[in-house]
């Protein structure tokens, strides 16, 4: 596999090319021309690259970002801007490429939706690029065949359909590509019997239905939480499993870190049945049975809205707790007119969403510059169930001759009726990444799809920003083409007039469209390469949707989808979302920040529900621990699934929550036998609905769950441990932060001073150059887990598998410790990211008998892998337990080409040795070389960025040189909220934590999160 695109040698920006010779010496001219020796070499090498590329494939030029060297230099990375479509949400990306292979996906700072940060899925999709289980060759019936052969079968299907007067339906996944949308229209124009139906794995239209009725907008609005002082969420997991979570997290977190002086922060009230990540971040969290959610909104509406009420028929069913919570929420909202928002969850009814709009409208929250801008509509997020229903009817009637699946897997995710209808279609063709359930069980013809890193495309952001999806590598397998290329080829064969002669590939198609766009935007000649360079078109035409208010129309929308009694809801998984990338070890092993479960989906329920089901003898912690892992059969009217029980504190009673995306049976070795397919339980037409459920306990049967943080049964005054410290906003305002430091006498006699050091009887080592340090703001951190995948990708951290996780051998260098505080019926959560603290007095260093772990003059606790013999003494002696031991040869079991995902800057570790966070020492060295190249002795603040910091959407991780008083890290470290974990041990960590602040009344100073269930 080689990089087949040539580099645009015409790009002008050449940062870092400081010249080969010292100033005053000019490069000698060659051939008496104006071409310098350097320029000549550049031209020669570029033309050779072009020649090499040209004999393989039409030349399609890639443009690296301005950060990269514009000429390809072996050993140095190049960055290509692209865009990741997280279903229909566009997130800008930068793809780090080494010697032509992508090795890391990170966020593009210029993109407005994620502003340089990344979520778990987009980062982990890199691993899927190199997944050896990906479909490699086309297949017809059981035999592998050529792409050409498979495509002629598809063409034949389409022409046969035409001849028979029947239709072809193409099921496509949710997307946000304007070019693909246009292509679909053009294909339908040219081949009229071919139509396209968007078939997301998770269908939820309720918000779109409500918006269509009351706002006149067929789609979902994208809120800006950065503009909200008060947030009330009703079942919305906007920080966790929402597609927009990455977008929301940054804006949300920006208002959650108050500093003394002018301390302000938003107030978050979450009403929910499950215990979501959003609930874990709430100031006030109310656990309510879903049957009360509509009623809650109705009472809230009564208390806020003076005009038309949409929920007057629902308010009556509110019980006392609901009413109380709603009144309190109303009071909080009314204090922040125009700067508050009510977020309504996907599981809520269309009416609930309409009530939400009504409340937001009444509070003045809707409008340009407000938390809800009606112009900001998620692209192509309109109602889908109707088209799907029509497709089912068509298939059932026998009028469909061919179905084609473009990255959709309905055999896995669709309801029973849909699957039965598919069976009636004579010709079924799949174009998916894997030989998945649909491809294997339904399709006689199957084409391998290209990964997004291998294909051209584009995307539009909710605010109108356009981006180009620039491939970073040629398709790994010969003869692969993107589905869009296939569509164009088939359309041209069926209708030779289609698309004209100029367009033979999707690249041509995109170029044609973009040329028009660029011309319209007045982007000039270099518009295209500039767009590729930046990753976005600047400026893009802004989004223009406008709302036409018709609140009263909301009253006819259906309400109350959740019945009383025992209900179940199937929600996206935080790691896998809908299961598209389930064959991905990084995601499977990503510990859920709330439940800490890896490699499985479970039936989450409250302790009381477990008792009611008879799986737990009592709500006592020991009985609850025994109830976990017992198996129940869950039956809804759509199907039945066996699931292991997992008791989650803080959940509403009589509610079962289970995650989607697991239980794949085909297509990969990684996801095989992992979890259960809960799509079988989901409601047709609306996947995330609450439904009545029957539960039968399978007595005696157990299913073991791999958690990264165990349950313990002793309640023992662990609250005394000042580990994860908390404050209230009042504490910060009142300067009541001295209790954060209570253990040490200081040199200046004070108790509370980050800046003075504890007394010491030995002289201190003086760090003369850099002294690297980190600050983690627990108040900003939401627990989204991006940092974990970022670190895994950057540092070649192996995936160890479920068995090894169960043994407690997961390798993540950064983990999210979860602590509960307060009432165990409805506890607060504190998430504490934990990584090597790079202690000045590191207890690991003095116990290593072979000096394999030592301290650097820049304050790093360094691990010399080559020297390590593996006594594990360092790990035993680490009070933070952040060291990770390679118990087995986790890295040699990599199947080709998974090893291509490795970062060449980082050693791949063998068995028997210890590893841990290095503060991304390879990046520090790169930054130092860069500084040296530029004639500087020191790295500037912001030049050295760790992978976790780079990915963190909340901006909770600040890294830099603590010796530079002007650096962000030095300033953050001096914050009054700062403390170090286990300060009393005097190991002097280089990581400072800023105490979690809650916007509630009263004081929490001196109270640490201790309970830990």
């Amino acid at each position: 596999m080689k990089l087949w695109k040539s580099i645009d040698e015409l790009a002008e920006t050449r940062e870092g090319a400081s010249g080969e010779f010292v100033d005053g010496v000019t490069a000698a001219p060659v051939f008496d021309s104006s071409v310098s020796r350097r320029g000549f070499m550049a031209l020669v090498s570029a033309s050779m690259a072009l020649t090499a590329a040209a004999c393989r494939r039409p030349d399609q030029k890639l443009v690296p970002t301005v950060k990269s060297h514009q000429n390809f230099i072996p050993g140095l990375p190049q960055y290509y801007a692209s865009v990741y479509s997280h279903r229909n949400v566009a997130y800008g990306t930068l793809i780090k490429s080494r010697e032509g292979r992508p090795i890391k996906v990170k966020g593009n700072e210029l993109h407005p939706s994620n502003c340089g940060t990344a979520n778990a899925e987009m980062q982990a999709s890199l691993l899927s690029l190199y997944d050896p289980d990906r479909m490699r060759r086309a297949r017809v019936n059981t035999a592998p065949t050529s792409y050409e052969n498979a495509i002629s079968q598809l063409t034949k299907g389409v022409t046969d359909a035409q001849a028979a007067g029947k239709n072809v339906i193409v099921f496509v996944d949710e997307h946000c590509s304007p070019s693909y949308e246009a292509l679909m229209r053009d294909v339908t124009t040219n081949v009229p019997n071919m139509s396209f139906v968007t078939l997301p794995a998770i269908v939820c239209d309720h918000q779109a239905r409500a918006n269509k009725a009351v706002l006149g907008i067929d789609g979902e609005l994208v809120a800006d939480l950065g503009k909200a002082e008060v947030i009330v969420s009703v079942g919305s997991d906007f920080l966790g499993t929402d597609k927009l979570a990455l977008h929301h997290t940054g804006r949300f977190a920006a208002r959650r870190a108050p500093e003394p002086g002018s301390p302000t922060m938003s107030k978050v009230i979450v009403v929910e049945a499950a215990y979501t990540l959003t609930g874990a971040n709430a100031d006030v969290r109310v656990a309510l049975h879903p049957s009360q959610h509509d009623a809650f909104l109705a009472v809230l509406e009564q208390n806020v809205v003076s005009g038309t009420l949409l929920g007057s028929d629902l308010a009556g069913s509110a019980d006392a707790a609901t009413t109380k919570a709603a009144r309190e929420a109303a009071a909080a909202l009314k204090g922040a007119n125009g700067a508050s928002i009510v977020m309504v969850g996907d599981a809520c009814s269309p009416r609930a969403h309409a009530i939400g709009v009504n409340i937001n409208q009444a509070l003045g929250n809707i409008g340009a510059g407000r938390p809800l801008d009606p112009a900001c509509v998620l692209p192509y997020s309109g109602i889908k169930a109707e088209a799907i229903e029509a497709a089912v009817a068509a298939m059932e009637s026998g009028s469909v001759h061919v179905v084609v699946f473009d990255n959709t897997n309905p055999e896995y995710s669709a309801d029973r009726r849909f699957r039965a209808a598919l069976a009636k279609v004579p010709v079924r063709v799949a174009c998916n990444l894997y030989e998945d359930e649909t491809s294997k069980k339904l399709c006689a013809v199957s084409l391998p799809a290209t990964h997004w890193l291998e294909s051209w495309g584009d995307a539009v952001c909710y605010d109108g920003t356009l981006s180009v999806q620039q491939p970073a590598i040629a398709p790994l397998n010969e003869g692969m083409a993107s589905f869009q290329d296939t569509l164009i080829t088939v359309a041209k064969r069926v209708n030779p007039a289609a698309f004209g002669d100029a367009v033979t590939s999707y690249y041509d198609y995109i170029m044609a469209r973009w040329n028009a766009t660029l011309t319209a935007a007045g982007a000039g000649e270099r518009g295209w390469s500039k767009t590729l360079q930046d990753g976005i078109l600047k400026p893009s035409a802004p989004a223009t949707a406008t709302a036409t208010m018709n609140i009263a129309a909301g009253s006819s929308l259906p309400a109350g989808t959740a019945t009383k009694g025992r209900v179940i809801v199937t929600v996206p998984s935080l790691a896998l979302y809908d299961g598209k990338y389930s064959n991905n070890g990084w995601l499977q092993e990503l510990s859920d920040p709330v439940t800490k479960i890896t490699w499985d989906n479970v039936a989450l329920m409250s302790a009381k529900t477990a008792v009611a089901l008879g799986v737990a003898a009592s709500t006592d912690a020991k009985a609850v621990a025994k109830a976990n892992e017992s198996v129940i059969t869950v039956t809804t009217k759509h199907g039945a699934v066996d699931l292991p029980v997992w008791v989650q504190v803080g959940m509403a009673d009589d509610v079962i929550v289970t995650q989607l995306g697991y239980g794949k049976t085909e297509g990969g070795a990684v996801h095989a036998n992992v979890g259960a397919n809960t799509y079988a339980l989901a409601m047709a037409g609306h996947t995330t609905s609450y439904q009545p459920v029957e539960i039968a306990v399978k007595s005696g049967e157990r299913h073991r769950i791999a958690v990264t943080q165990n349950h313990h049964t002793l309640d023992d005054g662990r609250g005394e441990r000042q580990i994860a410290k908390q404050l209230t906003l009042n504490d910060v305002k009142g300067g009541k932060v001295e209790d954060l430091h209570e253990h040490f006498p200081r040199e200046d006699g004070s108790k509370n001073n980050n800046k003075s050091k504890p007394l010491s009887i030995v002289s201190e080592y003086e760090y003369k150059g850099h002294k690297w340090g980190m600050v983690i703001d627990m108040s900003s951190c939401t627990g989204c887990s991006s940092c974990i995948v970022a670190c895994q990708s950057e540092n070649n951290i192996p995936v160890v598998g479920k068995e090894q996780v169960m043994k407690g051998r997961e390798m993540a260098w950064i983990r999210l410790d979860r602590y509960y505080t307060g009432d165990m019926e409805n506890p607060n959560t504190v998430v504490e990211p934990m990584l090597c603290q790079h202690c000045e007095n590191a207890p690991c260093e003095n116990v290593c008998p072979v000096a394999a772990t030592t301290h650097s003059p820049e304050g790093l606790n360094e691990m010399t892998y080559n020297r390590c013999v593996g006594t594990r003494y360092c790990s035993n002696n680490c009070p933070y337990k952040v060291r990770r031991f390679n118990f087995l040869n986790y890295n040699t079991d990599h199947r080709t080409p998974l090893d291509l995902a490795f970062n060449p800057e980082v050693t791949v570790r063998m068995r028997g040795i210890m590893e841990k966070c290095t503060f991304c020492v390879q990046r520090l060295n790169e930054a130092k070389w860069h500084a040296k190249d530029n004639g500087r002795a020191r790295v500037l603040d912001g030049e050295a960025v760790t992978a976790c910091q780079e990915a963190c959407p909340a901006g909770a991780i600040i890294f830099g040189d603590m010796n530079d008083p002007k650096s962000r890290v030095a300033k953050a470290r001096a914050s009054e909220r700062g403390f170090t974990v286990l300060e009393e041990l005097n190991v002097r960590p280089s990581v400072t934590y800023l105490a979690k602040v809650r916007n509630i009344a009263g004081s929490m100073a001196g109270e640490a999160a201790g309970h830990h269930s």
Binding site: D716, R721, R809, D817, V847, A851, V869, N876, N886
Partner: protein, 472 residues
């Protein structure tokens, strides 16, 4: 060997008043007698255990430590538990041979040979455990300070480096001490055995011993010096082993009481193991004449004393945990009482503190089946003591989020069983091919060995002539 006067009121140390020749004949006959089927089967069995353990070790080294049950919070489990257990076992041998020798405790002569042998075999088992517990055992030599092109030495601040020195010193000195003590007896066997090959081997090993006064003179000086070198080792080796824990900062490890507590525990466990083996050897090899109830009585007293020392240490740990006001420390100790490993803790207390209390009664101290059972209890209890210290301290330390639980796999259990196989096999070979009782020394404590009740020092040597009668 200085021989002291035997007060007539004292219980005799050798029963039946055998002649000096009888003693030689009795003990050498064990070596000379034909190898019985029973013996072969026993060795076959222990050898099979050893082979099974070695297979488990081979599997570990070729696959990785991951075949054990260790995990992230618990980086040491049965491996280091077994290491400390075996090192502790060795201490009785050194105490008996060195300290009791310097204190002129004559009753030691009947048991010192087997106790010293046991020391060496136990240290071999301990070395096996400590060498194989690392992630990359083929690099074990990096733990030694040898000159190399990398200019890398060991980290002298690490207690594990101290361990390497302590254990190696211990092994070397113990082996030398044992061998030097064996020389006169090997010469006796050289003279006694009939086969040529055996004569050659014993002849080679006896280093030309003739029993001359000069030989005896040098021998006694050498023996005294080695006893002097060994004596501090009784205290130092297990103190250094305890530093593996005390130098760490883990609650439950970081305590100053560990060195004396570990030494007492080591002697305690060592005596228990000597007891277990001698009760069997005394029956099987019919050594009731030499290993008497008096010996057992004395050993039981030592076990009672050291058992109470460890009991005191257990109590003092709790007091300090409370008195320090350190929440982590006090939590770890409460966790020992009531936590996930409470069963291990209570096993330890029952075996180590409660069960030896019966030895307050003389009848119990002289009841052989009872003491056998109690000695097994103590062996079990002392193993659990080390397990408790290692596993309970590690599995729940500072940050509750990183807590875990550890249980061993079949591989670790097999390796532990294997070390018993190695230990017992070596002990069986020893009991067959080496005099299990120090012939020369026992003769020295016979009443008949005393030439006169009124003698001066020069006469002491005369007694040696009688003692080594068999060697002439």
């Amino acid at each position: 060997m200085k021989v002291q006067e035997q007060a007539p009121i004292r219980e005799p140390l050798v029963l039946g008043n055998p002649s000096l020749h009888d003693i030689t004949a009795r003990i050498a006959s064990i070596v000379e007698s034909k190898i019985s089927m029973k013996y072969l089967m026993t060795v076959g069995f222990t050898g099979a255990l050893a082979a099974w353990g070695l297979f488990a070790l081979y599997y570990t080294i070729t696959t990785g430590i991951g075949v054990w049950g260790l995990n992230n919070p618990v980086g040491w489990g049965w491996d280091i538990t077994n290491f400390v257990f075996w090192i502790g076992i060795g201490h009785a041998g050194t105490l008996i041979s060195a300290i009791l020798f310097l204190f002129r405790q004559k009753w030691r002569t009947a048991i010192n040979r087997s106790a010293e042998a046991m020391t060496i075999f136990a240290v071999i088992c301990a070395l096996t455990m400590v060498l194989s517990h690392t992630g990359r055992p083929w690099l074990f030599y990096w733990l030694l300070p040898y000159p190399n092109q990398m200019n890398m030495w060991v980290n002298f601040r690490s207690p594990l480096a101290w361990d390497v020195f302590a254990v190696n010193t211990y092994f070397t000195v113990s082996a030398l001490f044992w061998f030097v003590g064996l020389i006169p007896d090997l010469a006796t066997l050289r003279n006694y055995v009939k086969s040529d090959l055996a004569k050659k081997i014993y002849g080679f090993l006896s280093l030309g011993w003739t029993g001359s006064t000069r030989h005896w003179h040098h021998y006694e000086i050498a023996y005294m010096i080695l006893a002097g070198i060994s004596t501090p080792l009784v205290l130092s080796v297990h103190s250094v082993v305890s530093f593996d824990f005390t130098v760490g900062i883990m609650p439950g490890w970081h305590t100053t009481i560990f060195p004396p507590y570990f030494v007492a525990g080591a002697i305690f466990s060592g005596f228990a193991m000597v007891m277990t083996l001698l009760v069997i050897a005394r029956e099987v090899l019919d050594l009731k004449q030499f290993i008497t109830l008096k010996h057992f009585d004395n050993m039981n007293k030592i076990m009672l004393a050291t058992g109470m020392m460890v009991g005191y240490a257990y109590g003092m740990e709790f007091f300090i945990a409370w008195y320090s006001g350190n929440p982590y420390e006090s939590w770890v100790f409460m966790n020992r009482l009531f936590g996930d490993y409470a069963w291990a803790y209570w096993t330890m207390v029952t075996c180590n503190v409660v069960s030896p209390q019966i030895f307050w009664f003389k009848k119990a101290r002289r009841n052989v089946p009872l003491m056998f059972v109690i000695s097994i209890f103590i062996n079990i209890g002392m193993w659990f003591e080390r397990f408790t210290i290692i596993a309970t301290s590690l599995h729940h330390d500072f940050l509750p989020a990183s807590w875990g639980y550890y249980s061993p796999t079949w591989v670790e259990i097999s390796i532990f069983i294997g070390t018993f196989g190695v230990f017992l096999t070596l002990f069986l070979l020893f009991s067959k091919f080496v005099p299990v009782i120090a012939i020369a020394e026992v003769k020295g404590i016979m009443p008949g060995a005393q030439p006169s009740h009124h003698h001066d020092h020069e006469h002491g040597h005369a007694s040696h002539a009688a003692v080594t009668e068999g060697a002439h």
